[in-house]
Symmetry: none
């Protein structure tokens, strides 16, 4: 277990974001335990065949978010106490994402029911994916 990363270059999502995202999910689902060490920038860069700068950027984003902590000279470790967002902040972010999504999708001409149903299956799919990873 630990961490299994995979990326797709032919995507509009930047590589560094794909990497950060997968670490975040691994932490959230417990596949990566608090205190566990993250693989080194160089190791990840070699494995994924990407520029080390790209990995470094993903990592620094995780540190900024409080998901990981740097122990100078030793490497990056999953944070013990994830102090992520305040309830208000979480709510604000959800609202913002909802607004952007709604605007985007209203224009396509789907009904409210269709959109809601599709979101439900999409979220279920993501959760299932995370479960799978956690049990690996």
């Amino acid at each position: 277990m630990g961490l299994e990363l995979n990326i797709t270059t032919n995507s509009a999502v930047p590589l560094y974001r794909q990497i950060a995202e997968q670490v975040r999910v691994a932490v959230a689902t417990g596949a990566l335990a608090p205190g566990e060490q993250l693989p080194s920038v160089r190791a990840v860069a070699e494995q994924l065949v990407v520029n080390p700068n790209t990995v470094a950027r993903a990592y620094s984003e995780l540190v900024r978010e409080g998901v990981a902590e740097a122990q100078p000279g030793r490497g990056l470790f999953v944070a013990e106490r994830r102090t992520l967002y305040s309830p208000e902040e979480r709510d604000r972010r959800l609202s913002a994402a909802l607004d952007i999504f709604a605007r985007e999708v209203l224009f396509l001409g789907f009904t409210r029911e269709q959109i809601v149903a599709r979101l439900d299956t999409t979220l279920a799919k993501f959760e299932a994916g995370a479960e799978e990873k956690a049990h690996e």
Copy 2:
């Protein structure tokens, strides 16, 4: 009636897209009726304090999408509503938007039910907002 535009410069969403999106939503929800004239490029540019080119770019996107039509020398007018995209394309776009949204939001720690419920409210709000405007 008509159109109330407002933008936020410190957003990841580019200005021209914010403008186009607001017009699109206004049209999709009926707040802006087919045949209605859009405010002139210069007027919008002045009101929002942005470069006319930025507004022009938003407008040309709307024209290419078939949301608005230019009458040479007279201005831009809301086009008759029509289904531009093929079913597959609409689905593709919905899926893409869902994926981005799901990634953004799962990480925040809401349950699936919470997210779905909030989306329902958000979509309803947009529809209601349109009604309101149409009856003003």
Copy 3:
């Protein structure tokens, strides 16, 4: 293989549209295969001696149309072929092009048979040209 671009400045068709059109045709006829990389904005701008913005505009149109896709930081690549527009929209666009063409050409005094025959040859030429290029 690849792409040969050439433009004419004293044309009613804007530069950015000439560029986009040539890429579109190359893709539609198979001269440019899905997955292939497009020449960079700067390279094209230099080759054609136009402003990079003009090329960028052509490219962004192709992306919006789904003809090409951007891979952040790497460049533009030809997208998988897909049907973007609804049947009604395709028909609408064909009708519009036909109308403009007919008005333009009827006035020249050719017979219907002559015009139709010439169109057939022209279309065949485009298809043949693509074959040729694909086998180079």
Copy 4:
């Protein structure tokens, strides 16, 4: 009979071009005979409810093309001898129009047969329209 003009403002085709086009067709089909006088700019502008400048522009285009001739102080008359384009020029124009049309339409994904068939019906429709006018 003489001339019956009608325009549509909600079109991408500029008004002055719509007007000029209708005069051209009327002359080509004999609805307007050589030597016949064209209605005055002011008369047309009033009838169509457009800016006189717009009509004047259409007329000046016709004069430039040799379709009409100005008799100073008396007005505009249909030219006796229409010396339009040389055979080479006609051919060149047809080719150019064909090229533009083909590029536009290839992208839409119709087959050659479909396009050719649609052109045939479109041209037939236009010819029928002209006949009708000539017999009014």
